[in-house]
């Protein structure tokens, strides 16, 4: 229920207004003077005040700011019998809710009260809303502050984390550098080891080569000295002839006889018949020695070559290569070596052809050594586990398991004289590996030895067999 305070010195007006408002459900308080109105206002807690401008003690103009000002909760309707535009403007400016010139009808009063009350509700709501708004703003502010704090904390945490990460990262970088360094060191160590291995092989090789070369070198050398002696003897004979010819020009009759006599003496003294007979063998043996040295150097070169210079792979018909080589070998040493070919249809192999030829040649060369008897070897091609294999079978070899293990060592010589040293097989072993294949030797269950060359297959073509 709304509460209404009527401040008016006119008793009749108070009675009339009070009746109207009470009839419309208001709880009405009345005050006859300004002072009375002020007192009642604070006790009555009025929602609405009807204020007369002309009061006996305090002017309505003076009272209005106190009513509208204090608390500001009540709506004040100013009533006056002396209507003027100026006074209306002033009271409205000072916070009055409405301005009613007297006399006014019942409806006018009710409508005014209604309007002021409604405005009051609106104002209250507005106040509450603005209070809520202020609270909300306050909340927002504090939230923002909190957020700001949080964000600062977060930034701090992020900073710390970043610092920690940076430290970890630095540590990682150091570890990484260490790793890189040890990797480099390992690589160097490996290079040194490889070098050492090479040096060891070279040392082994050099010792073998020195021995292999020394024999031919020594007899070629000695023969060269002998040849010098022979030439000296022959020059002496020539000298005698030239001298005799010059002298015989003046004494024609004795010419032939004299030359013959002189020459005969020199021939006997210098044993020139012997010398002439020996010249042929001497040159042959020297040539033989030099060929042997050349061969060893050639083998050495192919042994040292890692094959990578000309190592571009191509599709090669292994059967054709084998046939060609066997023909060559037969032409060169048919009385010492007989090679039977058993060639099956196989795919082309993917290898550098120069290396392949070298390996095949090195495999067959020991077989062509002088052993005083005809040797029979079998060359067999086929497929095994997706690779192409070439088997070189020596059915009459009597090599032991232990000897086989050393077969690919440089200058290895077997006890049965079938494998007579040299670099051939060890070079072939290295070459087979650079070709992506392998070379191994094993005893045959039915007796004899098999040297097996395994080669990578080329995708494209297939070779016919025999």
């Amino acid at each position: 229920m709304s509460r209404c305070l009527i401040i008016d010195d006119d008793t009749l007006f108070r009675k009339m207004a009070s009746d109207i408002l009470t009839a419309h459900g208001f709880l009405v308080f009345e005050a006859a003077t300004g002072q009375e109105g002020l007192d009642s206002f604070s006790t009555a807690d009025a929602d609405i005040v009807l204020l007369d401008l002309v009061l006996p003690d305090i002017s309505g103009y003076d009272l209005l700011p106190k009513l509208a000002g204090t608390g500001g909760t009540a709506g004040v309707i100013v009533t006056t019998s002396h209507f003027s535009l100026d006074s209306a403007l002033q009271v409205l400016r000072d916070g009055a809710g409405d301005y009613l010139p007297k006399p006014f009808s019942e409806e006018t009063l009710l409508m005014s009260v209604e309007r002021v009350l409604k405005r009051q509700v609106l104002e209250r709501e507005n106040r509450e809303l603005s209070a809520q708004n202020a609270r909300a703003i306050e909340d927002l502010k504090s939230s923002r502050e909190e957020l700001f704090n949080w964000s600062r904390q977060l930034e701090q945490i992020v900073d710390e984390r970043t610092r920690a990460l940076k430290q970890v990262n630095r540590a990682r970088q150091i570890v990484c550098r260490d790793l890189e360094q040890s990797h480099r060191q390992l690589k160097q160590a490996q290079a040194i080891l490889v070098g050492r291995e090479k040096m060891a092989a070279l040392g082994l090789l050099a010792a073998g080569v020195a021995h292999e070369i020394n024999n031919p070198l020594s007899f070629v050398n000695a023969n060269l000295d002998s040849l010098k002696q022979y030439v000296r003897s022959l020059r002496r004979l020539c000298g005698v002839m030239i001298h005799a010819q010059a002298r015989a020009g003046r004494d024609r009759s004795n010419r032939v006889e004299h030359i013959l006599k002189e020459a005969g003496r020199v021939i006997d003294e210098e044993k020139l018949r012997e010398v002439l007979d020996d010249l042929g063998p001497l040159f042959d043996e020297m040539a033989n020695g030099l060929t042997r040295i050349t061969g060893i150097v050639e083998q050495l070169r192919s042994f040292a070559e890692d094959g990578s210079e000309d190592g571009s792979c191509e599709s090669v018909d292994l059967n054709a290569e084998v046939s060609r080589l066997v023909d060559l070998v037969h032409g060169a040493s048919a009385e010492k070596l007989q090679v039977l070919c058993r060639l099956s249809p196989i795919p082309y192999v993917n290898v550098p052809v120069r290396n392949l030829r070298q390996v095949l040649l090195n495999l067959l060369t020991p077989g062509a050594q002088e052993t005083g008897e005809l040797r029979q070897l079998i060359l067999r091609t086929g497929r095994q586990n997706g690779h192409v294999v070439l088997d070189l079978l020596d059915p009459s070899s009597r090599m032991s398991e232990e000897e086989l293990g050393r077969l690919f060592e440089p200058f290895f010589e077997s006890r049965d004289d079938r494998q007579l040293g040299g670099l051939g097989l060890s070079a072939a072993y290295g070459l087979a590996q650079t070709m992506g294949g392998s070379l191994r030797a094993f005893l045959q269950p039915e007796g004899g030895v098999c040297i097996q060359l395994v080669l990578p297959v080329s995708e494209t073509k297939t070779s016919e067999g025999e």
């Binding site: 020195a210 020394n214 024999n215 020594s218 000695a222 023969n223 002998s226 012997e274």
Partner: protein, 173 residues
Amino acid sequence: MTQQNVLFVDDEANVLNALRRSLRREEFQVYLAQGPEEAMDLLKDKDIDVIVSDHMMPSMDGLTFLKMVKNLYPRIVRILLTGHADLQMAIQAINEGEVSRFLTKPWNDLELKMTLKHIFDYIELRRENQILLDTVQKQQSLIERMEEDHPGIFKVNRDSTGTIVLDDPFEDV
């Protein structure tokens, strides 16, 4: 000076031929054997003074062969000629008395000739020494025999002034 004989042993015929050529104008007789077996046969027939052997031979190595020669014919001077110049082996071979010289391949012709010449000089000296020793021994036994037959025959008596005093052969008569 008696005929001097040197025997070369090597499995490589070319080496033997080269050696024969090098030494063809030397005074000594050169024999060649292509391996220890052939050398042993030759040693039975010929009076060999010096053996020069290769070391690396397929049937038997040179040191073993020369050791055998030392046992069978201790007076033959033994030389090792090898392309496998292993210092350790050389020291061992000489210190153990298996060989008296150690030559390496490729050899120097002059060095080979000088070595052989020195050895033959030594052998000749040894031979002369032996002959002289034999002569001395022969004479010694002759003296002993004469002393036996005629006691005092080599005895010389001197007086205090050093004058030789001859016994009066007719003193007893």
